[in-house]
Amino acid sequence: AQSVAQPEDQVNVAEGNPLTVKCTYSVSGNPYLFWYVQYPNRGLQFLLKYITGDNLVKGSYGFEAEFNKSQTSFHLKKPSALVSDSALYFCAVRDPGYRTALIFGKGTTLSVSS
């Protein structure tokens, strides 16, 4: 079965420092991977996706993610964190076959301190 794991419940980083939010996946076949962000009492906002091609994917708000097939990882990164980046981040993989629904990790809370 397809699944994603986010090993950290919370990541703390100081403003201006680089941030990484980790995600590993388990899929049969080619992985189609996504990152979403959720602010309190809001829906999820799309950040970026990996379908094929370059392993480094650039997305919204200065975020990027690195696809690593050998390590089955898709970590989210940003060179310089902002306080406004503080939110809940979800990694997701697309369901295979005729379904196109997303299978989400449990989420990682990012806290950026000033």
């Binding site: 799309f46 196109t100 449990k106």
Partner: protein
């Protein structure tokens, strides 16, 4: 910018009552999803529509939940009767995806603000 609309934003009900949630996807989006997000967890699919047809409802508790998208546009999710364990955020999402074999099937999903349900 086009958005997915959901109402109500918040709903408090007593167990055994009926509740209904409404979703209006982005215009032109063929596929509509209902997800349930329990506090501290990631969203999980309840039901997926392509146009007016159900693609997948394998995770929908059909003894109490029902969903419809009669004209292939907006959708309603109903719970009757509500139970304490149904307290969660109910998220609606839409995408251009029309079939799993097309390029559009890799399009991202756009989420609405959600309906937070509390069952007392």
């Amino acid at each position: 910018e086009a958005e997915v609309a959901q109402s109500p934003r918040y709903k408090i009900t007593e167990k055994s009552q009926a509740v209904a949630f409404w979703c209006d996807p982005i215009s032109g989006h063929a596929t509509l999803y209902w997800y349930r997000q329990i506090l501290g967890q990631g969203p999980e699919l309840l039901v997926q529509f392509q146009d007016e047809s159900v693609v997948d409802d394998s995770q929908l508790p059909k003894d109490r939940f029902s969903a419809e998208r009669l004209k292939g546009v907006d959708s309603t999710l109903k719970i009757q009767p509500a139970e304490l364990g149904d307290s969660a955020m109910y998220l609606c999402a839409s995408s251009l995806a029309r079939s799993s074999g097309s390029r559009s099937s890799y399009n991202e999903q756009f989420f609405g603000p959600g309906t937070r349900l509390t069952v007392l």
